[in-house]
């Protein structure tokens, strides 16, 4: 990455926060490597843990090497590294989607650009993987997370950290949803009905990534992680008044 693309705003800026998030994700994925591989060995080819750990370690290194980068540059660098290092379908799904979604962060990170980033990421994963909700894939964790985040920001007007905390809870429920359903995409789909009863590895690593984003966001804001629940929406006062009129 060339130096002239670096227009971050120092160690306390958004670019540095994204680098910290990528490092946290890399550490988490490394800790969960065996668990992810175990999940994948039940329904796939037992390489998700190793592939993701290798890719995120390389991505964290590439992110650290950037000189005072802006968030978009970090996202694109990490995405490109994941594309070339993760391998299999996870490379284009996790990495390719990140490259394209990062373009939404060219003006920095705020509530609006974060929603646009999340929506683009989901759209790219769906299109590239040709997967929809209920196919027992990462889409099952990502969709509830993105929908909950968008709604929490745009409709409920929640602070971004609270919206993100709700999104993580939604993703957690999405991961649980992958267990009792049949795989219709990816290698697990070859198992047919035998895929029922297994937790999807890609949905699981998606949850871990979101949990680390939340943890780093709370840390950077010097705030506690809000104790929230995706199933109890907080309506702003005017929306409540509107709802009563229905």
């Amino acid at each position: 990455m060339s130096g002239d693309e670096s227009d971050g705003d120092g160690p306390d800026g958004d670019g540095a926060a994204v680098v910290a998030a990528v490092e946290a994700v890399a550490e988490r994925i490394e800790r969960e490597r065996d668990h992810l591989t175990e999940l994948d060995s039940a329904i796939g080819d037992a390489d998700h843990g190793g592939n993701m750990a290798r890719g995120w370690a390389a991505a964290a290194e590439a992110a650290r090497d950037l000189d005072d980068p802006d968030p978009q540059t970090v996202g694109k660098t990490v995405g490109k590294t994941l594309m070339s290092k993760v391998g299999g379908a996870s490379g284009p799904l996790f990495g390719g989607s990140l490259v394209f979604a990062s373009a939404e962060l060219d003006g920095g990170i705020d509530a609006e650009s974060a929603v646009a980033f999340a929506e683009t990421y989901l759209e790219k994963v769906e299109d590239r993987g040709d997967a929809r909700l209920g196919d027992q894939t990462m889409v099952d964790a990502l969709t509830p997370a993105v929908h909950t985040f968008k709604k929490s920001i745009e409709t409920d007007g929640l602070p971004p950290l609270e919206a993100l905390a709700k999104a993580v809870d939604a993703a957690d429920r999405g991961v649980a949803f992958t267990v009792p359903i049949r795989a219709r995409k990816g290698r697990a789909s070859y198992l047919g009905w035998r895929s029922v009863g297994h937790q999807d590895p890609g949905a699981t690593s998606t949850l871990y990534i979101l949990e680390e984003l939340l943890s780093v966001a709370a840390d950077r804001l010097d705030a506690e992680i809000p104790d929230v629940d995706a199933t109890s929406p907080t309506l702003p006062d005017d929306a409540k008044a509107g709802a009563e009129d229905d």
């Binding site: 490109k80 594309m83 070339s84 391998g87 299999g88 379908a89 490379g91 284009p92 799904l93 390719g96 490259v99 394209f100 590239r128 993987g129």
Partner: protein, 126 residues
């Protein structure tokens, strides 16, 4: 002219397919790309993007792919590349040979070459 790219999980398979197709390809620009970049099996979007750029000769590029993640990585590469490129939904070897023949037609277009590559799905061997 329309250019061609052959993508395989194996670099040697991609090169072998290009070797066969090139016999029919005349002056057509045809690039092989494959492998995970460190000697193993896989595909890498950046490498595919570079191959598309190298194969481009003014009238776009038709991309032939083998399996699974090669399709997704080619898709990412096409979206990243400035070149107009399309994936042919065709068997990689037969499609590459058909596309090579089609690309030598003076009136060949991106669509006509892709269509000829995709016609390879119907080739009967017995």
């Amino acid at each position: 002219m329309v250019g061609l790219v052959v993508v395989s999980h194996s670099e040697r398979a991609a090169e072998g397919i290009v070797e066969i197709a090139a016999e029919m390809a005349g002056d057509t620009s045809i690039e092989a790309v494959g492998g995970d970049g460190s000697g193993g099996i896989g595909t890498v979007p950046d490498a595919i993007e570079a191959a598309i750029d190298a194969a481009a000769d003014g009238d776009g590029v038709v991309v032939l792919v083998d399996l699974g993640s090669a399709v997704m990585n080619a898709d990412v590469a096409i979206e990243l590349s400035e070149v107009e490129a399309v994936i042919a939904d065709a068997p990689v070897l037969e499609g590459a040979v058909n596309a090579a023949v089609a690309a030598t037609d003076p009136s060949a277009t991106l669509d006509s070459v892709r269509e000829q590559a995709e016609a390879a799905r119907d080739i009967e061997k017995l």
